[in-house]
């Protein structure tokens, strides 16, 4: 195993790994400041912030030979015997010089800059900059121009790291951004008439180490230090990007991608990024409604679960529809409850919203056309409980006009998903219970209309298109009057205490081979369930699993 020496500390790396000085130092617990380098982009070594001393240790004699000048750590590969010195006087002086140079013509308008609080320039200035400003330039107004529908550029705050330019070339592949002019007059710009309009454009704001690129959707809405980040999973499509939900007092202000090399690397699409507005939509269902003789009245949550349970048991048969927006834990609780009410209950996978096809970007990032996060997970749970998984069209085709018993539709769709003609078909059920985010033709005719939780209010796990399961806790509390599906089904199943996702996950792991990896805690980047999917196939247990899963 190659050994790299960082500040006298030996770090062992894998021989296959291709790491640079910054990455190796991070393993040794040393942070080398950097602006232009980003693990997801190519190396340009232009900001000079990561300058370090480097050398080579002769493996036979043990003698160390240093290179006489400073080199950028981002561009220096680490191999066996490489030596990095990151805290010498020369390095410290170089960092202070870079900081001073960057701040020469920086507006220093931190109080009104949205990046303040999470800005590299600010942080590095405190850590590595000089205590006093030697330049005698007064603060000035930062010029501002729009780059597209989503991003604003504050020209003078820029440190010319060109991360955004490289992102548009390498990951989005659309090349809208460029560097205009030369030397001290360099600026980020677009070609006139060709705005920044790709579907990954929001990422350049996250990439920007300073406040030069502002997200128009988030600009001036909230200072970053008021918000709390919660690790979550995007519910926009079946890619299931790892995200952070930034929230203050149960109000979401922005979503940001969270690093997950197995799923989304460092990115997320704009559709997902701005796809949280429905959470705070005033049109959301916020009270459980009971309809008697065509008149809706507000029901009371305290007595409602018992009432629902009683009516379901009296209905003589149950069909339960589980939407692909539910977590696997919720699906399990719901399916088990359905079978407890009626041993022959049909459990059906709800309507799967489809887009116009997958969109793949040149860097490999893909927006899936399946616009729901958890079709695979819910289908696997249904398959595990019922043996086979019927889907939504099967229910509509099976002439439900002759249906008897109760129909429970757990929805949670964030936009229109059912038309009046489909709703008309399902009215035939004598008892119709609909759980959804927004009023729909189906909820209009339901006997009970229950408010559902949005993705940020859920706690549980989603299984993405690639059989990767990611778990998350709730980021915000649901609005008053909304009970999450998990809590309702937990209560209906008469389990003790509060809903705990971990308990349900352990149950899943014990009962289904597909979920067997869940017996341990789920790491932040998720668990790959693919191996467990192959196992029962090899055993010949379910031959057509690939078709459904």
């Amino acid at each position: 195993m190659p050994i790299v020496i960082v500040d006298g500390k030996e770090v062992e790396i894998d021989g296959q790994e291709r790491l640079n000085g910054i990455q190796v130092a991070a393993r040794a617990g040393v942070e080398i400041p950097h602006y232009c380098w980003h693990p997801g982009l190519s190396v340009v070594a232009s900001c000079r912030m990561c300058l370090v001393e480097t050398g080579k240790k002769d493996l036979q004699s043990g003698k160390i030979t240093m290179i006489p000048k400073l080199v950028p750590a981002c561009q220096t590969p680490a191999s066996d015997g490489t030596v990095f010195v990151t805290e010498s006087a020369a390095v410290k002086n170089a960092r202070a010089m870079v900081e001073e140079d960057l701040l020469l013509r920086h507006p220093v308008d931190c109080p009104i800059c949205d990046k303040a609080g999470e800005c590299s320039l600010q942080d590095y200035h405190f850590q590595h900059g000089r205590e006093e400003r030697r330049a005698d330039i007064k603060p000035f107004h930062s010029r501002r121009r729009s780059l597209g529908d989503t991003v604003t550029l504050f020209v003078d705050r820029c440190v010319m790291c060109t991360r955004c330019v490289r992102f548009c070339r390498e990951v989005a592949g659309t090349r809208e951004l460029m560097v205009a002019h030369r030397g001290a007059h360099e600026e980020i710009d677009i070609f006139p008439g060709f705005p920044l309009s790709n579907k990954l454009s929001g990422n350049v704001v996250d990439l920007c180490p300073v406040g030069a690129l502002g997200d128009k959707d988030f600009l001036y809405r909230q200072r970053v230090w008021f918000m709390e980040s919660h690790a979550h999973v995007c519910a926009g499509c079946s890619t299931g990007c790892s995200i952070d939900v930034d929230e203050n007092q149960d109000r979401i202000y922005r979503l940001k991608p969270r690093e997950n090399l197995a799923v989304n690397q460092y990115w997320m699409c704009d559709e997902g990024r701005y796809g949280w507005k429905h959470v705070h939509d005033p049109g959301r269902l916020a009270q459980p409604l009971r309809r008697r003789q065509g008149r809706a009245e507000i029901a009371d949550w305290t007595a409602l679960p018992a009432e629902l349970d009683q009516r379901l048991r009296a209905a003589g048969g149950l069909t339960m529809v589980l939407s692909p927006f539910l977590t696997v834990e919720e699906a399990l609780l719901a399916a088990k409850y359905a079978r407890a009410v009626d041993a022959k209950a049909r459990v059906i996978l709800g309507a799967v919203p489809e887009g116009a096809g997958d969109e793949r970007f040149s860097g490999g990032f893909t927006i899936r056309s399946e616009k729901c996060p958890n079709r695979r997970g819910v289908a696997q749970v249904i398959r595990g409980i019922c043996g086979e998984a019927a889907n939504w069209s099967d229910l509509l085709d099976s002439s439900p006009s002759s249906a008897s018993g109760a129909l429970w539709v757990a929805g949670g769709y964030k936009s229109d998903w059912i038309d009046a003609s489909q709703a008309e078909l399902l009215r035939a059920f004598p008892l119709l219970i609909v759980q959804d985010l927004f009023p729909s033709p189906l909820s209009e005719c339901a006997d009970y209309c229950l408010p559902a939780a949005s993705f940020a209010e859920r706690e549980g796990s989603y299984v993405n298109y690639n059989d990767r399961l990611q778990s998350f806790g709730w980021a915000i509390r649901p609005p008053a009057g909304v009970k999450t599906e998990a809590r309702l089904f937990w209560q209906l199943s008469q389990r003790e205490g509060m809903y705990r996702a971990e308990t349900v996950r352990r149950e899943l792991a014990e009962e289904f081979v597909y979920f067997s990896a869940l017996s341990d805690a789920v790491p932040p980047d998720g668990i790959d369930l693919k191996l467990n999917r192959i196992a029962p196939q090899a055993a010949g247990a379910t031959a057509e699993m690939g078709a459904i899963g």
């Binding site: 109080p111 009104i112 007064k138 107004h141 600009l219 001036y220 230090w225």
Partner: protein, 182 residues
């Protein structure tokens, strides 16, 4: 500031001497003060103010911490840039700001709404200290009354009107800022 910061000088509590432990000298010292004031009052020099018949005199209005005001700039616009630093510093969480893009070309951001709950405020002056543009200041107005709680939540207009009412007696504590937008 961390406890191990070299700039911090840690001082030990001085040990009490024999006189300190006896209490009696201190006792005498306190009584001396009491009798001094008693003598002064008996001579007719009463310090107590008969409020509200008589208005108290505030010796240093510039450091008194009374009702807040929002200062105006040279053009009469609100000076605040909606940076939220006062709201961040506020230990009572009584300041609520909504910042939006400003309608003026020379300014980036301004408060669309700026409210202070004067009942919740503890008048500590941290907001004044935190403000990078000296937009929020505490005046020497002390007799703050209202008929309802809602009335005591001061909005931007009300805070600006406090400035208009007090600007002549209490000038702004800083010179107008030049060419900066922050």
């Amino acid at each position: 500031m961390r406890p191990d910061d070299p700039k911090i000088r840690w001082v030990d509590e001085p040990k009490l001497g024999i006189t300190g432990r006896m209490y009696l000298p201190m006792f005498a010292q306190g009584l001396t003060t009491t009798f001094k004031h008693l003598k002064r009052s008996l001579a007719g020099d009463v310090l107590t103010v008969s409020y509200p018949d008589q208005e108290p005199r505030i010796d240093a209005p510039l450091i008194y911490r009374g009702v807040h005001r929002l200062n105006r700039d040279e053009q009469g616009r609100v000076k605040c840039v909606a940076c939220f630093l006062c709201a961040t510093a506020c230990p009572a969480h009584c300041i609520d700001i909504v910042g939006v893009e400003s309608p003026w070309p020379d300014r980036e951001k301004y408060p669309q709404s700026f409210t202070i709950d004067e009942l919740r405020c503890i008048y500590c002056g941290m907001c004044e200290e935190a403000c990078p543009v000296d937009a929020i200041e505490l005046t020497s107005l002390y007799n703050l009354t209202g008929r309802s709680r809602e009335e005591m939540i001061f909005d931007k207009e009300k805070l600006l009107s406090v400035f208009d009412a007090t600007k002549d007696t209490e000038p702004m504590r800083s010179a107008p800022t030049e060419g900066t937008n922050a």
